[in-house]
Each structure stands twice: as C-alpha cells, then as structure tokens.
Point group: C3
Chain length 439, copies 3
Amino acid sequence: MNEAARLQPSADGTADIGGELHALVSRLFPICRSITGEGVRRTLAILSEHVDITVREVPSGAQVFDWTVPQEWTVRGAYVRAASGKVVVDLAASNLHLVGYSEPVARRMPLCELRTHIHTLPDQPDLIPYRTSYYSRNWGFCMAHRDYLALEDGEYDVFIDTTLADGALTYGEVFLPGETGREVLLTAHICHPSLANDNCSGLAVLARVARTLAARRIRFGYRFLFAPGTIGALCWLAGNEAGLSRIDHGLVVSCIGDGGGPVYKRSRRGDATIDRAMEAVRCDGREVTMRDFSPFGYDERQFCSPGFNLPVGLLQRSAFGTFPEYHTSADDLDFVRPEHLASSFRMIMDVVDILETDRIPLNLSPKGEPQLGRRGLYSATGGHTATSDITMAYLWVLNLADGSHCLLDIARRSGLPFSAIAAAATRLEACGLLGKSQA
Amino acid sequence: MNEAARLQPSADGTADIGGELHALVSRLFPICRSITGEGVRRTLAILSEHVDITVREVPSGAQVFDWTVPQEWTVRGAYVRAASGKVVVDLAASNLHLVGYSEPVARRMPLCELRTHIHTLPDQPDLIPYRTSYYSRNWGFCMAHRDYLALEDGEYDVFIDTTLADGALTYGEVFLPGETGREVLLTAHICHPSLANDNCSGLAVLARVARTLAARRIRFGYRFLFAPGTIGALCWLAGNEAGLSRIDHGLVVSCIGDGGGPVYKRSRRGDATIDRAMEAVRCDGREVTMRDFSPFGYDERQFCSPGFNLPVGLLQRSAFGTFPEYHTSADDLDFVRPEHLASSFRMIMDVVDILETDRIPLNLSPKGEPQLGRRGLYSATGGHTATSDITMAYLWVLNLADGSHCLLDIARRSGLPFSAIAAAATRLEACGLLGKSQA
Amino acid sequence: MNEAARLQPSADGTADIGGELHALVSRLFPICRSITGEGVRRTLAILSEHVDITVREVPSGAQVFDWTVPQEWTVRGAYVRAASGKVVVDLAASNLHLVGYSEPVARRMPLCELRTHIHTLPDQPDLIPYRTSYYSRNWGFCMAHRDYLALEDGEYDVFIDTTLADGALTYGEVFLPGETGREVLLTAHICHPSLANDNCSGLAVLARVARTLAARRIRFGYRFLFAPGTIGALCWLAGNEAGLSRIDHGLVVSCIGDGGGPVYKRSRRGDATIDRAMEAVRCDGREVTMRDFSPFGYDERQFCSPGFNLPVGLLQRSAFGTFPEYHTSADDLDFVRPEHLASSFRMIMDVVDILETDRIPLNLSPKGEPQLGRRGLYSATGGHTATSDITMAYLWVLNLADGSHCLLDIARRSGLPFSAIAAAATRLEACGLLGKSQA
C-alpha cells in the first residue's frame, strides 16, 4: 500500500500537498506565539482541524527537572510613541517588534534610555530581529536598524500591555497507535511567533504527516509533539519518563519550508537507525547532508541529554543560523515555498516508509545461491556483460540475509536505493526464499 | 627451498613458463565446452597431462541444494543455410556461434522467425557474442552484427544436431596433501567454450601451479577444483560439506592472461588472510587493485553465500565485464599473452608463498630490544642518519612479535614488503630471538 | 594555581626562560659525553644545580636483559699528525672528531691505512659527522670531507689517549612525588657529545620542567630520567620493573631546540592518553604533527618494547634524521634558539597541565539541560543566531559528562581547545552541576 501510495501521490490527496501546506503555514504565521499563552492554544486549535490533538497544560511553578515552569505571558498590545504623537514601533505591525515575555510598561522616557531596550541588526538594516527574555524579567522592542537610526531625540511614551501571571504552559500531543508497542517520536517547536520557516513549516508538515499516517496501517506507534522549545520538551519528558524506552526513533523538525539542504544532524548516538535512515533517503533526488551531533540547536538537546540519550536527530532544510532570514522578519510567507514544503513532506514520509519497512531478512536457502531463474527472477539467457540493478538487489539481499543485517545495512553496503532492496526482499519473501526476523 | 626457487625461476623449469602456459591455453581453446558433456571431459584429459586429476561425475537429476543437475548436452554440429544453399552460420567456424544448451532443431523457417533466435552485439558489429540457455529450453545462434544485417529475406534451413539427455555433470579435482590438516582452495571454471582469457587462462595457470606445488614440501593441503560455473561449484560444495571447515584460504581464478589489473575482489568476510595476502603481493611490481566483495561474478558467489561464508576471493587481471573482448570472439589466443600468463602464475605462487610462510612470531627477549649488534644484525658503527630496511625489518618484527600479530600484520603496519619481514623473522628465529606460535 | 601561572608566565620566573635555557645548553655543549664516563657525571653535576638529581651507577659487566654494561671509556686526548708535524685532526678542536669508544692507539701508519678509520660526509663536505662504536672494539676519526680530501700521501702518527676499563655506567634520576601513586616519566638521553639540539636541548628543557614542577602541587608523581641511550634506559628499566605499572604517561624528549615541528611519535599503543594530549596541545599556536609509532628512534624503542609496552611517546621539534644538521658539527649553539627552547618548554608544561587537569566529569543533572541562565552561564536574551564558544563548552561538557568521556575526549569531539573545556568543567563543578569521577 505504501509503495502504491508513493507511486501515485494523488491517491491520498497529496496532489497539491505543497499548496495545502503553504495555506496552513499562512494561517499559523500571524499568531503571536511564545512559550506560554493564547498563541500556543490558538495554534493547537488550528492544527486540531487536521488531526486529533490532545492539549496538555502544566501549571506555572511546576518543577521539571532543573527548571520551573514560568508564569503565563499574555500580550494585548505594545507600542512606542514619539512626543509628536507618531507611533514609531507597534506590535500590531509585526509580532517580532516586542521582545518575547516583556513585562508591562507604561512610561515616558528619553531616547537615550529607550535605546538600551531596543534590539536591531546593523548588518541587515531593513530587518526586524527576533528576541526573547523568558527567564529574566525585562522588556524590549526589536526594530529595523534603519528605523532605529531615524529616531529623533526627545521623549517617548512606551506602552507594553502584557500580563505575567500564574497560568499554564500548553503543548499538544498526537498518538497514532501501531501494531507493535514500539514508537516513533516526531516533534516541532510551537513557541516562535511570526517566523514562517522557523517553525510554522515544521508544525504544518508534521500535522500533515500525522493526518496521512492516521489513515494507514502502521507497525510503529507515532507520537507527535507540538511543544514550546526547551521547557515544553522538558515538561513532556518529565511527564513521560516511564514510556521513553518505547521510543525507537525520533526526529525534531524545524525550518523545513525553504529550498536549502536538507541537512540532518545525527542523534547523540551517531549510529541510530534514524541516522542511517536519513542517510538513505533523498529529497527531490538530492542526498541529505549529514552532520554529527552537537549540543546546540532545538529540542534534540533535551532528548539527547545524557540522562535520556534518545535516538532523536534534527531534520531541517537550511540549517538554523546559516541563512540570512533566520530569526528575522525576512522569515516570512515568501521565504517558504509550496514546492519545498511538499518535498520535505515527501522526504519525511519516505523516512517513515523506511522505518516501517526495515527488517532483518533471513535467507532460507543460504547454502549457495538459490536458483532464481526458475522463479523468474534471473535472466534465462546467460553470458551478458552486465546485470540489472533488480538482479543485483536480489543477490545482495540473499547474500547478506544472514540474520545480522537489516535492509538499511544491505542498502548501504550494496550502494542500491533502500526502495530497491526493500522491493527485492518483499519479492524474495513471496517466493519463500526469505523469512523475516524481528527488525 | 621456496626462497631459492623464487630467486632462480629456471630451477624448476619456469624459465619459459609464459610460453608453456600459452601453449596449454592454445590446446584448450578450440574445445566446445559447456556445463556438461564431452568438452569438459576432453579439457580435464589435457589438464591431466600436467597433474593428477580425479574426475568426478554427478548424474543428471541429482539435487544439489536448491538446484537440479541438468541433462547432459551433446553437440555434433549446427548451421543455418539460406535458400540459396549458402551456409550463413556454422558451428564449425566458431564454438560461440551456437547458444549453449541449444535444443535440437531441423526446420525451415522465414528470416523473421530466425531473427528472434539470433544474438548480436550492435555496438561491436564484427564480434560474435557468447550466450547460453542452460536452465530454460531454447535454441539460438550468435553472430557478428555485420553478418546479421547482411542476411537476405527468405527461407532458411536451421539445423542443430544436439542431444539433451540424462548423463552426468563432470568436474575435476586435485588434492596435494600438506603437513597440516588445513587447506587452500584454488578453483577455475571449466564451462566456457572458446574464450581464451575466460577461462582457458585460469585453467592453464592453476594446472601449472598444481604441478609446481606437487614437487614442494607444503604446509597446507592444496585443493584444485576445475568445475563448471555455479552448478559445478554447488555439486562440489554439496559433496564436501563436512570438509569445508578445513579451508583456511581460497581463490577463484579467471581472466588471468591479459595485461590489465590485477584486480582482486575480497571475500565476503573482507578481512580474511587471503584478502590481506593479496594486498601484500605484487604483479610485475604493481599493487593489486582491491575491490570489496559483491555477490556477482564467478563461483565466489557460491563459496561466499551466507551458509558457507568461506574465505575465498576472486583474482583476475582485467575484471570481467570491463574489457571489450569479454564474452566475445575477440577473447582469443591473441588477447592472452605469454608474459601476462607468466606474471599471473608468479603472482599466485607468491601468494602461496605468503600463505605458507605467514606465522605469528613470538619475541623471546621482549623486555627492551635484544642486542642485535653482537649477532651481526645491526651496524657496528652508530650515528648514521638512516637505518636500512633490513634493520627496520628486524626491529619491526621484534617489536610486534607479542603473539598477537602475524607476519602479514607486521608487513602491513611497517610498510615493508612481506618478503623482507619474513626473511627477518627467519633470521631472528635462527638466532634464537624469536619462537613461532601457530599461524 | 596552574591556570594563573600560565596566564602570567613571569610569575614563576619564566619571563626570559628562552635565554635561561640557551645558557644552560651552552654550558652542557662543550662536554665530551659518551654512554659512560666523566662527561655524563659532569653533565649531571650541572643539571643538579637546577634540580635535586639522584646519581646512580651500574657496574661494568652487569647484565641488563639481553645486554651487558660495557667498560667505562675515559678520553684524555686524540689527534693525527702528519710527517710534516702538522696536526690534521685534533679532539681539542671538536669532540666529534673522535669516534666514540675508540680504543687507545699510538702508532705510525700510511695514509691508505688511516683512511679506513676516517668517517666523512661527502655530501656535506664542511661538516664533521658524529660516529660511535660502543659494542665493537675499534677506533676512528670523523672529519670534514674537504679536509679529508686535502690529506697528503705519507705517514701519519695516530695518537688516541683513551682507556676502556671496568668502571660504571652513570645516569641521573629526579622524582617529584605527587598526590596520587600514579607517575609520569619524562626522559632525555645524556650520551651525545657536542650536539646542541641532540640532546643538550632535551636535557636543559627537562631540567627546567623539573624545577618548575618542584614548586607546584601536583597530582601525578613526575620521574625525570637523564640516561645514556639504549643501555641507560635498559639499566633503569631493569632496576625498576616492579614500579613500571605506576607509569600512566611518558615522553622521550630530544631535538627540542630548533624551529621545526613539533613532531610527536605516538606510543606503541597508539591511543594512550599522552598520545591524545599531544594532539590537543599547541606550540606557538601550531598543531603538533602526529606520527605513528615505529621501532626506530630514541629510548621509546625500549619503553615500547613488547615486554613493557609503556604509554611513552617521542616529542621533538624537527624529527631526528630529517634536518641537515642532524649528527653533524652544524648541530651547534647557533642551531638551537632561545625562542624555540622557550616554546618547547611551554608546550611540555601545557601537556603537563592537560595530564594534571584531565578528568572524567559526571553530569549531576543529566536529564535535559540544566538551566544555565539562572546561574549566569547563559545569555539572558534568546534568539541570537550564534552562541559563544564559552556557552558551547558548557553544553558539550554537560552533554558528554556521562562517566565515559574524559575532558580530552570532550575537547576532541567538540573541536574546542582543551583549556576551554577544562575551564567550563571547573565552573560547572563550582555550580554543583558536575561531579568528578576518577581520571
């Protein structure tokens, strides 16, 4: 079924998957998100239109490992007005203008004082940066450096209408049960405001993956997590410690809608099955650039901390911090493209196919080659110079099906595509030449 | 004795080994061989003039693993005659003209029907290809594409005078007992008709190796197998399963008479002693190109199937399928040259020397260096800038003779030739500085 | 304390360490040393001005493993005088003129006989070579090839006023006890006559390292060995077998005063901590060129013989045998430079710092990242594109502090300098986030 689905993408309605994903990104983009608050709840509500999401709330003040869940941040408005009455910065124009978790302010101050609370990007003078101050009480504005330079001396009214009060941290979880008790974790951070690639793209693509898998028969259970960065992942980990041993594979997904990469950062283990699956997959025919684990990035930092060391890697198109639009107002709805969202979706579905399909085949006729010719698997005429990739796939699978190689191992060693190896294994199983071990 | 023999190649009559080998190839070339039949028997009879061969026959219909021994094929003649009376293809002109295992035919047919039974090489229009149809009853002719294009419309008389009947599969075996119960397997396929490199060359060289070793004191027993490809190897494996655990090293030899390569394909194990010995040997001073195992090729496919996984590699000059003469009428007596046959013979004898000589030396004076100077093994004058390769060989052997390195390991790590390391070990043993462990 | 000392090199009087080291080399240079005799004793006496050296003597004739301690060599003078009365070679002009361990001679002989006892360097006609004949009784002179060619036919008076008689082999040892029972071995050969780089430089630098460490609190005990090459090292090994298991790290130091390299030859083990520490250290900002072990060189040959296999490598600037001055009269006081001696000293002190500092940290908060921000170890403002090396060091240490990685491992895997990793670990320990395992 999976095979057929891949060959006929329109069969499950993925014909214009790119357009559909971009439309979803466009709905998520305007919401003013942070690590807590209504923005997260509204985002989860939209995603829930696609897949059945369980929304969980953890109260402010709860201890999660070395951390404390912060107060909930509510934002109603924020602007800076010159003495002339001209509004020089306004949250209504861009969610990025206000530093995340800014405390309430309503005060007149001279430019010199205001300046110490303004963040800009001198090297990218037209762009608004993205800044937060979650765990240190503060306030601030972000603006284009060009506008900042144009500020005239004088007094300014600063108005930040926010509340920091006990409430909750919100995250969403989807679980699609599989035939076995083993699980795959797929997660995207939900805490960034109007940044299209980082990470409306990840939220949209994973929600669509969940909807697609919900309609399939699956071997693994799939657990989708839409949670605020760091503190959200820690909340989930703290609440699910007992079940972590069920997770065989995991991916953190972010910045998945631009045309770069893809780039994959291996899990801390470095040789997990997910690491080798990402090596086998292609994106629009391109190989995935493989990077070794490092402890900076998204929530793989938490999943791969030494106390958990889960087999979780990070999948991106352009790697965070390497593209000029990163964490600026240029990460907008033009930066992510339908065709890139579609190819990212297909790549993740292909990885899922690999995880679902991978197994350890066992050659039931291991002494010499079995006679493929009488089963129609080998050319009846001998003497040709070259052999086909299909025949080579049969020969490789049979040769390495000694109980110590999975299909991913065989694909890697043979240099043949995983799909060719998997197809050969399926055919050989049908012929009774191959049995299955546990994957 | 081996040392002396190598230094004085004429001592055992190898002065014109190249000429002798080419003469033997020339006698084998005209015979019409297939996987069964008189061609194999006549070939074994000629090889028996050089070395004592035990001829074995396995009856048609015998089960060998997943296979059945086919009926014996007897061929008396085959031709195609145009309505004009002109014979357009004739087995008498080339053994390659008839598809191997063609069933008997005596029938007139129009050109359009005949064409479906003709094999050519459009890209090499002057050459006749080599084709077989062992396990699917069929018939056919191979011809030069240029001649094929010249066939005129009309009726043709097709006459194939063959018999497919119960009989036997024939193969030959030579066993030279050694001082230990361990064995080396050397094998060449005997089933190809008039192809000089593939594999009259392998048959001739291995027969000559057998004759040379028969006159030597040898540590290993050497088992030579001259058997039809695939089914012959399977017959031998099926009949000798109990003894396979005695095989420490093995080589499949084919296409050994041209001027390319040499190319060695490692055993499935990848790090067998034979794999490392081939890395240490030279052919006319050239290193051997090393390739990793793949499950396509000659009978290493059977020996390296997962149920056996024997330490057997494939040695060739030009690798099969990579030279334009491969499986065509251009693989003739001009393509194989006396000097290449001679250097291939010497290379195999050098590998045999390595296998015979390799051992795990044990330093009997392991604390500090022993005083080589008073044994005449070190320069009496100190202070020179460089040391000789001979001294370095002593120092390397002593340093690594801790019971966990064989001479091949020491040669590889030191970068010195195996022969230098072996000579140093022999000298150090004579001095009482080194004892031998089991190899 | 070590940290502070490194930041303020003048604090322990190392401000002009280069000048001080060159002055010491200059005092050692003129002494006529060999593997036994007064030259060694005078050298040890000078080194004793810097550090408390225990002088040990082993009697001639003593058996050490496969060797016998030779007779002691005393040299009073040596020259060759032409019939004209002109002295053509004189030990008084250069200690290199006399072949080491020359037996006494007082005889007139023709030039043709004299020539068989003269060593020159035809390719470096102005330089005197260095030659010895320790274990084979002989005599000889070394001279510039240009002077050798100018010798006129005729009779020559050869006068070598030496004694070979029972006495002792002398070596010096310094032991600085540490807090643990584990030891570091640092050794330089003391047997070469007037060769400044090989090895007055090694003697001077190690004596200065000993003096510096004598004033520090140290975890390891440091054992300094100033011994004649080969036979001296063997004497020490024979006398200290029971204690060898206490040696965790070791360095042989020679040719450490020129401007080349540095070059480090790994221990026979190849992955000893000292091997990885040398990979982490820098010399004037340059990486150390790493070479694999080979059994030719200095006394690492003895320490790394298979019966001991100690974790001892060889540290040099230019590798022996590779620079034109090697073992010639050009290895003089101009060839070694104060600045190179100083940078070599600092490099060895940095290696000592690594050995002293290396440990296996243990993350006490291993589930997720601990909250670095509230401890002032993380930027309060989030959203920046890049993170600092300091933050990365915290993250790497925490992530790999699982009890199976030492700081050297973490430095290697992170690509950050060892000093940055060590500083981060110290800070994290102070915060209570990290505990120490045994190194």
